[in-house]
């Protein structure tokens, strides 16, 4: 199973410093939940991980292979690291099935028939076997997010990144999506999840990282972070979201 390591990741946008040297380890098959106030750089950190935003400094290792260097194509990295967005970002002009097929056809260069087979398999896996020919605009938020998960999984990634996957969803849809993610975690996928879903983090995460102001303030098991936070900043944030 693939481990992911970040070392001293820094990123600024103009004069705004967003990441101040983040170190992070995710062991193979483990789930890391990242939580923290808005604007603290959580999303930027995830986007740096798959090089959607190239970091200014620092190293990213995927199974001890450094991925942010010239000789490694970002496309290769992104085929290994799947990502799910807060706003789904499904391709609006394509059906669910074609959304999943697109990357296989154009990134992995798989044949049409094979891509189709894989798409059907992955959509069934997220419980959308009956909505495969629906277009994004015909699906609920939860269904769209599950298609997005199937689309990322179809690439057989070694690590999955989730950027607030349920923040745009109602309670029922949130439940659907978290159920899929929970199963994925149980199957041993290495995952980094930015989330405020405390229930999910408690039940599924192996590690919780509390993120604030461009740095990891505190990291530990769910019990450590939720029951006995060491830092004052963590304590006040946890109290707020638990209420």
């Amino acid at each position: 199973m693939t481990t992911l390591q970040l070392r001293g990741i820094k990123k600024s946008f103009g004069k705004t410093v967003v990441l101040r040297g983040v170190d992070l380890d995710i062991d193979g098959g483990e789930v890391l939940c990242i939580t923290g106030p808005s604007g603290s750089g959580k999303s930027t950190l995830l986007r740096c991980t798959n090089l959607l935003i190239p970091p200014d400094a620092g190293e990213i290792y995927l199974d001890s292979v450094r991925v942010n260097q010239r000789s490694v194509r970002p496309e290769w990295v992104r085929q290994k690291i799947g990502m799910v967005f807060q706003s789904f970002n499904l391709f609006t002009h394509l059906s669910a099935r074609k959304n999943v097929m697109l990357a296989l056809r154009h990134s992995r260069k798989v044949s049409r028939a094979e891509a189709e087979k894989k798409a059907v398999y992955e959509l069934n896996r997220v419980g959308l076997g009956d909505r495969m020919d629906s277009f994004p605009a015909q699906l609920s938020g939860g269904q769209q997010q599950r298609v997005a998960i199937a689309r990322a999984l179809a690439m057989d990634p070694e690590v999955m990144l989730f950027d607030e996957p349920t923040s745009a969803l109602d309670a029922e849809s949130t439940h659907e999506v978290l159920a899929v993610m929970t199963r994925l975690a149980r199957e041993g996928m290495t995952m980094a999840v930015v989330t405020h879903e405390i229930g999910f983090a408690r039940a599924v995460a192996h590690q919780i990282a509390f993120f604030d102001n461009g740095l990891i303030v505190e990291q530990g098991t769910p019990a450590e972070i939720f029951e006995h936070p060491q830092h004052e900043r963590t304590r006040s944030f946890i109290q707020k979201i638990l209420r």
Binding site: N50, L52, P74, E75, W76, V77, R78, Q79, G82, M83, F85, S87, N89, L90, F91, T92, H93, L102, A103, H106, S107, R108, D133, S134, F135, P136, A137, Q138, A148, R151, A152, M155
Partner: protein, 306 residues
Amino acid sequence: MTGPPTSGPPLGTAPPGTRANLGQVRSGSTWVRVARRILTWRAWSPVVYGVIAVVVGYLVLSELGTLGVYRLSYALLILPGILNGFYVSLELVAVYIPLGFGVGFLVGWARTTQSLILRGLGSAYVDFFRSMPPLALIFFASLMGAVALKGTNLDPYTQHNITLWLGVIALGLHTGGYQAEIVRAGILSVPAGQTEAADALGITRIRSMFVVTLPQAFRVSLPPLANEFSSVIKDSSYLFIIGWFELAGAGYSYASESYRYHYAEAALVTWFEVALFFFVLTYIVTRTLRGIEDAFRVPGLEAATL
């Protein structure tokens, strides 16, 4: 009634008045669907009605003429000439609109890239060709061509032909400036999240342009493109000034010959006929685009119907 009972509408046609089931028949390749949509499209019937209405109106109007000579008989007399102009216009439109689209597509795309040089060239193109009067552009192109060809040993016939087509190209470049902005707006209308999602899946930028951004931009661009096409079709009459005997040119020469008859009425009949054929030409083009629009409509994204 004879013959077997029909079993409903043929494949690919929607029952009248329903938009909802457009897009449900999704068999065959996209282009087969497009062709089928255009051929079976209900709204072709207004074309037929329109032509009938105009012809009837035409007859009534020509009957209102005080002297019989330049009524229907005059209209029929000039019909072959006007039809000839119509074919020439059709030919011109079939050249400069696709040319304008090709240029507009490239320039519009260039203006959305990261490259400063491409963006600069693109906006210079748009600024220039949108601010030049098409009349002046056509004159420039064909006269500059004529001057440049003067020293060559091409025969005069070929030289003249080249200057004629240079004018057509000038008009194509002119409409290209407008179409570039339509294409650019279409590309910019696709949310950044779409590209980001394609990036995150390991698709290269150039590929995601073709499989993610452009298919969506294309759908957004169709209505304004139809607008621009229908506008620039009428600009084909500018080409009369450099010697293209197109629809308006044919009309103009008949109208100016009408002093032999009763001027006002003969000219009226002529221009009515010209307008009729311009209508037909524009209608064919805009309806084709509407057909394409319907064929590519994304289920669930139809505009709200009142």
